[in-house]
């Protein structure tokens, strides 16, 4: 297991946001976390990414306790995340935005007197990510001038530029038009394969995307894990369909073959 959370419990005052949640993600997996609003998805993400410290339970990343160690330390260990609400650097260009994580990953942030423009490795690496995400021709555009879909893509791309082992995507396609959603997902899955990511965890509301890409789905409800199974099993689980997905939703077919992330071609 790369990332393993056991019996996570999180209290905000008297309110119990998460109550005994366990989750394990192994190499090659694409795991989706679903659940209605207030099910505890955001809290779970914040616990897994070390932003919050659990009231009880453990989070282990590559057999290391990472509960509450904070985002900076986690990126060093190889875990990256993107945000539900698009997070960009408004005044930085696309390329600069992608250089920052490269600089951070290579530990070159304290090169106070070296020229960034002359750092071939950083430049090439950032450009490669820009190309993978189809942002290369906009590389000199300030992030604030990008279209909404491109902003989202840039947010995700900058997390990928950390070349993490595992990435946590908080609604990677929220706030983006339906047409753009699947394009973003395709880019994302391709990039993860090319960049050698071991696993992806996403929180997602769009069931087409959840069932179209996941190897495994974790359904949360009122702070507890309602189900943790493959898409086909989840589809047959009447409770999950009733409480989380909704009857009216037409569920797409599960993906062909196993392991979207590093699956055999």
């Amino acid at each position: 297991m790369i990332l393993e959370a056991r019996d996570l419990r999180k209290l905000y005052g008297d309110f119990c946001a998460l109550d005994g949640v366990s989750l394990a993600v192994g190499a090659g997996e694409f795991v989706s976390i679903i659940g209605p609003n207030g099910a505890g998805k955001s809290t779970l993400i914040n616990l897994l990414t070390g932003v919050l410290r659990p009231t009880a339970g453990t989070v282990r990343f590559n057999d290391r306790d990472v509960a509450g160690i904070g985002p900076v330390a986690l990126t060093r260990l190889g875990l990256a995340r993107s945000f539900q609400l698009v997070q960009i650097f408004p005044d930085l260009t696309v390329l600069e935005t992608l250089q920052a994580p490269v600089v951070s990953r290579l530990g070159r942030g304290t090169r106070f007197f070296r020229s960034l423009a002359a750092d071939r490795e950083v430049q090439a690496d950032a450009l490669e990510v820009a190309e993978l995400f189809g942002l290369a021709d906009k590389r000199h555009v300030p992030a604030r001038q990008l279209a909404q879909g491109d902003k989202k893509l840039l947010d995700v791309a900058s997390a990928f530029a950390l070349r993490p082992e595992i990435i946590l995507l908080d609604e990677p396609t929220s706030g983006v038009s339906t047409a753009e959603k699947s394009a973003i997902m395709e880019i994302l899955v391709t990039a993860s394969r090319r960049m050698g990511l071991k696993a992806i965890i996403q929180v997602e509301h769009d069931m087409d995307i959840v069932f179209g890409y996941s190897d495994r789905i974790v359904a949360l409800h009122q702070g507890k894990v309602l189900a943790d199974a493959t898409p086909s099993t989840i589809r047959a689980d009447a409770r999950v369909v009733d409480m989380v997905i909704g009857r009216t939703h037409h569920l797409p077919s599960p993906p062909q073959g196993e392991g979207r992330v590093r699956g055999s071609p």
Binding site: F83, Q87, I88, R111
Partner: protein, 319 residues
Amino acid sequence: MSGRLILGLALAGLLVLPFVLSPYRLILMLPFMAYGVILLGLNLLFAYAGLVSFGHALFVGVGAYTGAFLGAHAGIRSIEVVVLVAAILGAVVAALVGLLCVRYVKIYFGMLTLAFGMVFYTFVLKFYRITGGDEGMPVPRPLLLGLDLDAMPKTDYLIGPYYYYCLGVLVVAAAVMWRIVHSPFGLCLRTIRDNPTKAEALGVSVTRYRWYAFVISGVFGAVGGALLGPPIGNVDPTLVYWTHSGSLVFMALLGGFAHFFGPVLGAFVFIFLQDAVMSVVPYWRLVFGAILAAIVIFAPGGLMGLFARRRAPVEVARP
């Protein structure tokens, strides 16, 4: 390219100025160059880290008092030693103060830096046995590159060798700061200014980088302060008072903090405009207050922002 041309012309102008300008104006150039160094540092915090310090005069004071102290108590007058000691003291003070300040942003950062500035102010004001209190301390004429120039008349010394020395320091300081803001470190600072949450998620430690910026900024402030002492001739606590910190931020805004050389231009305009206004009426604060209000309301991009707007519409970075 045209930017480089302007810069080259400006530098050439500064080099020939002693042959053209009256001694009176040349003496005004000295504080300008000292403030130029200080503002290069202040703007690293202001424009690149998004932090507005209302206590930066603390470092100016550290630098200026270093020169007076070394002269009075240790008999050291070598400007190289003074600048070096000022830089080290500036770094040490900034490292300690910064440790506490960089955890806060916006108004809280401003207040905390103001409080530390006033601690130093009160110290130099009240411990008059060491610091001369409100009368201050005289700053001896420094030796430049080890040369004793005491035989020269004071004005000739200031507008000749000392002028070129300050210009040299300003050019070096600008070159160093240029490297810093164009380094990987500079990029990390800008990510923090734009979006600290996202910066942390990309592995950029917000408080650590802010602290680095604070220390660098403190060093520049102290070096500038060390240069400011000799032309004033006497350092006193008003140099550290909070309104002086406010004037530094004013200069940055006046020139335009979004541009690398904006604050340096701001220092230039501030000093010469202040002199021009004071030659007409003694109420320069009234005029400058009105100018500051007008800039804040109508031209937040400062003078550089006005020039840039004429050439091409450039959006002003938020501090």
